[in-house]
Symmetry: C2
Subunit: 94 residues, 2 copies
């Protein structure tokens, strides 16, 4: 689990797992913002998560910000570092 508040790292699990995490984040009380972070193939899943939250669960949620970037990853088994795309989506509840 993340130590940053309200940041959800999206990986290779089914989207609904992360949707539940977003719902929990919003219901925890004081927050109106949740940020989804994803890399590589999981970027599509992060978009799915944001859309499912907006369309099915919290219809008052807006996409507050989206940014993309690149990170260098050094493979654990050694070898040349390779670039991987990253994405952050911040959802805000009105």
């Amino acid at each position: 689990m993340s130590t940053e508040p309200n940041v959800i790292y999206v990986g290779n699990k089914p989207p609904m797992n992360y949707v539940m995490a977003v719902i929990t984040g919003f219901n925890m009380g004081n927050t109106t913002e949740v940020t989804l972070k994803a890399r590589g193939r999981a970027i599509s899943t992060a978009v799915d998560v944001a859309e499912i939250v907006r369309n099915r669960f919290f219809k008052d949620t807006k996409v507050h910000a989206i940014s993309i970037g690149t990170e260098q990853i050094t493979p654990r088994e050694g070898g040349n570092p390779r670039n991987v795309s990253t994405m952050e989506i911040t959802l805000k509840k009105e």
Copy 2:
């Protein structure tokens, strides 16, 4: 090929195919903007394309706008329509 000017539909081909299309779009002359559109799994590829263009080819290119959405797709073979996530990334050359 698309009929809209400066719109590139990103699908399942390798990212470099679409990078070439973006470069061609920018080099065609009058335009400073190119929009990438993608659905479903191709969303990650669209982000890769934008990042490759920005980091390797046109370093004066900025991400001008990113938006996400949902489309309903009815399968060609019939059956229930299903939702698919969409993404648009507009790149602007300064």
